[in-house]
Symmetry: C2
Subunit: 387 residues, 2 copies
């Protein structure tokens, strides 16, 4: 799979600049051969990283860009004015090499927070990455170039009515709506109305990336960027949006499946709620409960913790009407537990795929959240991240 | 230290009923020789346990009781109508043995959620516990009788102007405002105006137990009960409240120090905020961030995670004015990091006592929260709790 250069008119270059361990790609440039329409959704964290601030400013002025330059290994967040200048310089170097204006280049960074970018390495890395894609595109390598604690590359492709969409994502920790320590880049050769793609991308993000949680932490760097260069012509908008949601859903699930230390892929579905907000409150409380997540890790059908999380979530419930199922077994109903062989539930949990269904019995709204368990490995990964 | 029978006119009985492992005390009765004024603060979880519902009903009618009966090893939560009847029977048996009305007995339970109480064992246990205190009181054993995953007994005593206060608490996991998987019982021989102790206890709870967090989960069973039997006479109310806060603060800190798998005692202090609510939002986000907590476990001064937690907390901040210190070292100021030998900070963190100070530079309000780190041991303890 190639990902970002699967649609027509896109090239991808990568380089190993030495920001991460030697030999690992850590700089990527995503280039459209022509000016491309663009849309972006970014973190809500007030300590937004320098590249996030930069992209927001660019997108307020420009709705067309030529390229995105990305580095991993350093988030360039919490780095003040100096860090912002570093981002601007990243865009300028890229623009210079591509013979375009620096306002036509977006930037993204991911990695440790609070350290200045090693600009000598970055400068050389960007030049080398652009050089690498002059003759041959490296779409297959870009996904690994943006990885930090990720263990697998996250690439997806779709085709619809002769139009192609390619996407790559990274994210494993600090994952929570809105949005995640997540970078996701999407390219398409569709020709779409320019004022349509930004609201469309936001809608799709809300239904996909904003429904996943690994550890309840919204990062400083989350960026989701879609480039649409129009090379392949018009497309039915509804069909396109549905396909865009589909590819984002695949990438979002890949992020959860690769969650730091995760041994389980957990789907939490709240049904029959009065409205989506109430449903989300409960789903989110269950998805972020350390006690629920450790029990899932231990294949322990300790449903009392699910109950406790729902009860403290602030969601409007009627205790007598709540019904809880785990892996298809109804466990709690009418205010009390059902007779059940919990060992059977535990066996089912060991498959690694756990479905938790919570019915409120109050209305017709529902909300689904994807998450992981909490393992000893998660603690190990995160206890020694910078030292 | 004796704890609950340190004040005059209180007796404590304990028994090993076989709910927990054989040989461990798991039933306790706290008896006032005369009718005692009483105040209680309980969980806000909508799935409140049977004993919590029962106590709330009693306290709406009665402001005087003779005893509290407690069991550990089973929370009697999520057990429906049948579970409620079990709690009522616990009170009735106690009342029968003490020759009082069942409405003069409160009840509390702690342990696994969602299982019926083993009533045969409970009945025998209560009788045996009451029998045990006819001749000699066992204040020193009550703290262990209410333990679940706790590793140490939590007892505290105070004396002021000839008035005594004794207290015991349990809690190690599912600890979060409001309030915690926490039980806390306090006795005093002070003679206080009856309509004063309930609001006083609530105020003190807000300043102590509601400022601690181990794992962000508010349980179904949290109960804080104060019995004041008046045996030792009047006391200055302000001096009493201050001493009550002092003893609750000690017990709350003991809960944090005994947090499941904790290797660190962490104080998070947000200062110079516009108001206490904004300060609390940030302190709470830092205290409950799994990424911050794992970094603290690893003695990793990865302050970017503190920054990220503050930034997503919803607290009103001015990024340029925020100042962050860890263990006395100022790490972040004026939007960027300070030059600093992070190895020195890491060394200081290894002492096990970590102070995080976050100054907003916006006002005069402040809020302090106590919490723990997140260790592999926490995961192990909670992965295999019921299986």
């Amino acid at each position: 799979m190639k990902g970002l250069d699967y649609p027509k008119g896109f090239r991808v270059g990568v380089a190993s600049a030495g920001i991460k361990k030697p030999g690992r790609n850590d700089v990527a440039v995503i280039v459209s051969e022509t000016l491309s329409d663009v849309a972006g959704v970014f973190t809500t964290n007030l300590f937004a990283a320098a590249p996030v601030k930069y992209c927001r400013e660019i997108l307020q002025k420009n709705m067309q860009v030529r390229a995105i330059v990305v580095n991993s290994g350093n988030a360039n967040a919490g780095t003040g004015e100096a860090g912002y200048k570093d981002t601007v310089e990243m865009a300028e170097i890229t623009a210079h090499e591509l013979n375009c204006r620096s306002g036509e280049v977006l930037a993204a960074s991911t990695g440790v927070i609070g350290r200045r970018l090693p600009m000598d390495k970055i400068r050389a890395g960007i030049k080398s990455a652009i050089e690498s894609c002059r003759d041959i595109s490296h779409g297959d390598s870009a996904a690994s170039a943006i990885m930090t604690t990720d263990t697998v590359e996250k690439i997806a492709e779709r085709e619809i009515d002769g139009i192609r969409i390619g996407g790559i994502a990274k994210g494993a920790g600090m994952i929570h709506p809105n949005m995640a320590t997540m970078l996701c880049f999407l390219t398409t050769d569709a020709d779409l109305p320019r004022n349509l793609i930004q609201p469309m991308l936001k809608r799709v993000a809300d239904r996909t990336f904003n429904c996943i949680s690994v550890d309840n932490d919204t990062s400083t760097n989350d960026s989701l960027i879609l480039m649409a260069n129009g090379t392949a012509g018009k497309v039915d908008e509804k069909r396109f949006e549905s396909t865009l949601e589909d590819i984002c859903d695949e990438l979002a699930k890949k992020i959860v499946a690769d969650g730091e230390g995760a041994t389980k892929f957990v789907t939490i579905e709240v049904k029959d709620a009065k409205n989506e907000i109430e449903a989300y409150k409960a789903a989110d409380a269950v998805a972020t409960s350390m006690l629920v997540k450790t029990a899932l890790f231990g294949n322990d059908p300790n449903w009392g913790r699910i109950l406790a999380a729902v009860g403290r979530s602030g969601a409007e419930i009627d205790v007598e009407k709540v019904k809880i199922s785990v892996c298809g077994f109804t466990i709690f109903e009418k205010g009390g537990p059902l007779e059940l062989d919990l060992a059977k539930v535990s066996e089912r949990m060991k498959t690694g795929k756990i479905d938790i269904e919570i019915k409120f019995g109050l209305g017709a709204a529902q909300k689904r959240v994807f998450t992981t368990d909490l393992s000893r490995e998660y603690v190990s990964i995160n206890a020694d991240y910078t030292t």
